[in-house]
């Protein structure tokens, strides 16, 4: 099928399958999936600028479907999402400015690659340690009981002491989040959102890979709610990114629409699946995702190929 905006020939079935897979990941983990979608589009010959912009447009559609399903399941904290939107946009702008400064200095590719590898590996290592420890602790505690290990809505964390200590910082104004069952300083929420936005502007994508874990470990939001609320955030940040890329001529909306037909159904499947897994198990399953991102960056650094 010929796509006249990006002047490329791509098999629509390939686009639907890629959309479906990213939809499942997005619905289950609350991530945009840009670290897979971008390279997948590049693989079939779509120019890198179109791959990034079109991926963002497709993420908007997929996140709407997944967030709507999570909302129906009671997994979206709208108040938290709206507050975070402010920090996310500010962070995204700062990230984009940093990229411009590095472009002027002439070492943007090297710096972004190294920073992204460090961030991806750190997230994976930390989440592996934490979720493994939490699951093991629950298993040993329930070893004698009939109930087994973790129930689907169970959400404890081995990092809970640090999260509780952060929640004790009473820096006014304090914000009550009844849906998440948390009262926390507005500044901490904005800081978490700002860091997420900064990563979005600096490294590209959603970026659920850092925001979802931050919501769980720093703000103390239950995992199911963090996944749903992060998807709501992704709609805002990806819409902003789509507009920005579209006016630069980097979005082939026809490709995004085709990808979205697969993503719509995949996102539903992913969102429904979260009902059957406990929070620590979702976090444990999340671990390979940043590793895939790191592997792609390492490959492009050492091979010189842009996937």
């Amino acid at each position: 099928m010929f796509f006249p905006i990006s002047h490329t020939h791509v098999n629509p079935i390939y686009l639907v399958v890629v959309g479906f897979l990213i939809g499942v990941l997005g619905g289950f983990f609350g991530v945009g999936g840009s670290f897979i979608a971008g390279p997948a589009l590049r693989l079939v010959g779509i120019d890198w600028n179109f791959a990034v912009g079109t991926d963002l447009a497709h993420i908007v559609g997929k996140s709407v479907v997944a967030a709507k399903h999570h909302r129906a399941l009671g997994n979206v904290d709208l108040r938290l999402g709206l507050i975070m939107a402010i920090g996310t946009i500010a962070g995204a702008e700062m990230g984009a400015q940093l990229i411009q400064a590095l472009k002027r200095a002439g070492n943007v590719n090297f710096v972004v690659s190294v920073v992204s590898i460090v961030i991806y590996l750190s997230i994976s290592t930390f989440m592996l340690w934490e979720s493994w420890k939490t699951v093991a602790r629950a298993k040993s505690r329930n070893a004698g009981s009939k109930s087994g290990s973790l129930s689907a809505k169970s959400d404890e964390s081995a990092f809970q002491d640090v999260t509780t200590a952060i929640q004790r910082w009473r820096i006014p104004p304090m914000v009550s989040l009844p849906t998440s069952g948390v009262t926390i300083s507005l500044w901490i929420i904005l800081l978490v959102a700002f860091v997420g936005g900064l990563c979005s502007g600096f490294l590209g994508g959603g970026p659920g890979y850092i925001r979802m874990p931050s919501m769980v470990y720093v703000l103390g939001i239950p995992t199911h709610l963090a996944v749903g609320t992060d998807l709501f955030e992704v709609i805002i940040s990806a819409s902003y990114g789509t507009f920005s890329h579209a006016i630069k001529g980097n979005v082939d909306i026809l490709i995004a629409l085709v990808m979205n037909t697969g993503a719509a159904i995949g996102a539903q499947l992913g969102a429904i699946s979260t009902q059957y897994f406990a929070g620590p198990k979702i976090r444990l399953a999340f671990v390979p995702l940043p590793l895939i991102g790191a592997a792609i960056v390492i490959y492009t650094m050492f091979s010189g190929h842009k996937l």
Partner: protein, 85 residues
Amino acid sequence: MSPRSKTVVRRTLRAFALELVIYAALVTGYFFAVLHLLGGWLVQLETQHIRIYALVAILLMIGQAVVLEAVTTGILRLLRGGRSE
């Protein structure tokens, strides 16, 4: 996972497989109808009115997502005998 949960998962997956078949037929029709009708207009918009194209792109993505979600939920409900999730 409890036996009850396993039954629910099995039933959901069966309905989902059927949903995929119906959905694939609908999507094939969609490609030929909607994309061919919209294609020319979107290309023209992209070359002549880039800001309007950017806005239309976001609206199209959100609109299609909402419609597709309604279609898939409707099919799933139909296959499960009128029960939603």
